[in-house]
Amino acid sequence: MSDQTTTRRRLFMKLGILFNGFAAAVLAVPIGRFLLSSVTRGRANGYLSWVSLGRLSDFPEGETRLATFRNPLMMPTDGKTVDTACWVRRVEGQKFQVFAVNCAHLGCPVRWFPQSGLFMCPCHGGAYYRDGSRASGPPERGLFEYPYKVDNGLITIQAGEMPTPGASVACTERERPCA
């Protein structure tokens, strides 16, 4: 084989690699978008919506009760996992506080003890007062609160994402409820 042919074959090989690189790039775009779809939808606030917790009369004034709701986004394979619990405290009249059951430390489900007026976490011993503020233990903040509104005798909350300690900057301020 002459030198010229070798050089030409080398060039073809390089072009072939380049061609495959192009094909990989073309495929990488949809694959990447597929993999990141759960993130991009969250960025666009595509997960949050208002869900009802029940009638106002289900929640006596001055008491804190467990309510459940179905996550707004559902898939056929979700089973029972779309049913979520939250603690509803009716302060007075139409004034509520709706807490996520997830401990602000690492997300374990907190339990309400009306006798001592405390939420206690079974995992690492976090405790919160009745208004959700931190009482003791490892959590660095109070319980997560869902935004709520009262409509036609129904209480609805804005939900759809699992609340986590690092969810957003706004979530670290107690005044700005979020979930």
Binding site: L35, L36, S38, V39, G42, R43, Y47, L66, T68, N71, L73, M75, P76, T77, D78, G79, K80, T81, V82, D83, T84, A85, V101, N102, H105, L106, G107, C108, P109, V110, R111, F113, Q115, S116, G117, L118, M120, C121, P122, C123, H124, G125, A127, Y129, R130, A135, S136, G137, P138, P139, E140, G160, E161, M162, T164, P165, G166, A167, S168
Partner: protein
């Protein structure tokens, strides 16, 4: 026999692998490496193969759907012949695999086997350890019960603390906004395709290097590793004092492998499969989630770290540990191999073992968690109620009803979050008791808003009786002077 060798010959004429296999099997190893200390690597491989086989068995029945997984595990446990045993083998196999990999790593570390020229073997081994732990965590998720569900929540809570990217990482990990069907599906893909695929590749690489570079010779105190001379010295050693791996050393590996397999089978038959625990229904919040055995130490650490240290420790700690392991062969790639002359290495291993052991032991009874049922389940022992007045008994009732027992024990019964109160009157005066109850402090919530003055008076009156008979309770000496009181 002639027929078999003719068939063998036919295949080998086409495959051409008999000679390389024979070479690999009979490669010379230093005579003193035919030791029981050198069997853990092959044992890890054998348990891994057991996990592959039992894993495929389980996949024949298991349904990776959040709605069905739990039911399919119940079917395996109860409806399918020996399904429970295969589950138990896989579960116990995972415990054994983590343990054997850790023992193997410790042995390699103490024998200086990570030094030149086996640095890359060590590094690949570090990745194998990480993948083994990854398999353990994802496997725990596939046993889709309450522990798995809330364990995922804990994983997500930790991941969410990564600065800036936290929320995105959580959604990527969960496959959506909450723990649901998509979450289980992606953990299934990780546990069954991604990590095992990588594991198989890395195991092959690891083994290839062991064959090419030769097994680490038995470390002799004073025989130092030097880059310039080591390879020649090693070959001289195998020539002078070597023996073929098969059959000279392999018989110990074979015996130990069979022993481990039987041990896994015995544990599986005796103790049975792990769970599944309660149904993964997030509306059932009466649950006390706990991680599997090999992550208990982490559970303890997360309870005991001061809150402000937690996020940095969680995010930076693992990076430092992994970096340290990866850099180890570069930091001490030469020199002494024998553990007899490496006191710091021995102390490091001891320190780590004791720390992990202590944390694991603590996590088994979790003294930091309130005992959620102590207030209703554990009555106040009689000895604390003898010779008490009406108001003190009323205080005992307040003590019980206000869930004090969830965190404080009496008569060695109750939570251990706060101190035991059997002799609290010896430590705190009346004023201090009132202040502590109303304002809280230390790690105790304030009860001021939840106790009426009468309840507080009664509770403190009861607490003041908690001192050994014949010993006076703590008293504020200045009180007599200031108030002019005489007792």
């Amino acid at each position: 026999m002639r027929l078999i060798s003719r068939i063998g010959g036919w295949f080998d004429e086409r495959l051409q692998i008999a000679a390389p296999i024979r070479d690999a099997a009979e490669h010379p190893v230093p005579r003193n490496t035919a030791s029981w200390w050198y069997v853990f690597g092959s044992a890890a491989l054998v348990v891994f193969i057991l996990q592959l086989v039992t894993g495929i068995m389980l996949a024949l029945v298991y349904v990776p759907s959040a709605g069905e997984a739990w039911n399919s595990l119940q079917a395996l446990n109860h409806d399918i012949a020996l399904g429970w045993f295969i589950r138990a083998l896989h579960g116990w196999g995972s415990n054994f695999m983590v343990a054997i990999v850790l023992i193997h790593m410790t042995q390699v570390f103490l024998f200086g086997a990570y030094k030149f020229p086996r640095e890359l073997t060590w590094i690949v081994g570090v990745f194998l350890l990480l993948m083994t732990l990854g398999m353990a965590f994802t496997g725990q998720v596939l046993r889709f019960d309450q522990d798995a569900y809330w364990g995922l929540g804990i994983g997500a809570s930790i991941a969410s603390r990564v600065p800036i990217a936290g929320p995105a990482i959580v959604k990527l990990m969960l496959g959506g906004p909450i723990i649901a069907g998509a979450t289980l599906s992606r953990f299934f893909a990780m546990h069954v395709f991604v990590i095992p695929g990588l594991l198989i590749g890395f195991v092959c690489l690891h083994l290839l290097m062991v064959l090419k570079l030769g097994i680490n010779e038995w470390p002799m105190p004073g025989r130092l590793v030097r880059r310039a001379t080591y390879v020649n010295e090693y070959h001289a050693l195998t020539r002078k004092d070597g023996a073929p791996f098969v059959p000279f050393a392999v018989w110990k590996d074979l015996f130990f492998a069979a022993f481990i397999l039987l041990a896994v089978a015995a544990c599986a038959a005796w103790f049975g499969p792990f769970g599944p625990a309660g149904k993964p229904d997030p509306t059932i919040i009466q649950t006390v989630p706990k991680p599997d055995y090999f992550f208990l130490w982490l559970y303890a650490l997360l309870s005991l770290l001061p809150p402000s240290m937690e996020t940095p420790a969680l995010l930076i700690g693992p990076v430092l540990v992994i970096l340290g392991l990866l850099l180890l062969p570069f930091l001490s790639g030469e020199g002494e191999k024998s553990w007899k002359r490496r006191p710091i290495a021995v102390l490091t291993v001891l320190l780590l073992a004791i720390t992990l052991g202590t944390f694991t032991h603590l996590a088994e009874y979790a003294p930091w968690s309130p005992q959620m049922n102590a207030w209703s389940g554990a009555s106040i022992p009689d000895q604390f109620l003898k010779y008490t007045s009406a108001v003190e008994r009323q205080g005992a009732l307040v003590f019980q009803v206000k869930q004090c027992r969830n965190c404080h024990s009496l008569g060695e019964n109750g939570g251990e979050r706060g101190p035991a109160l059997d002799t609290v009157a010896m430590r705190l005066t009346q004023d201090q008791l009132i202040r502590q109850v109303i304002q809280g402090g230390g790690n105790m919530p304030a009860y001021g808003k939840n106790l009426s003055p009468a309840e507080t008076t009664a509770l403190v009156a009861f607490l003041e009786t908690l001192h050994p008979r014949g010993q006076a309770p703590a008293r504020d000496a200045s009180r007599d002077v200031v108030l002019g009181e005489r007792r």
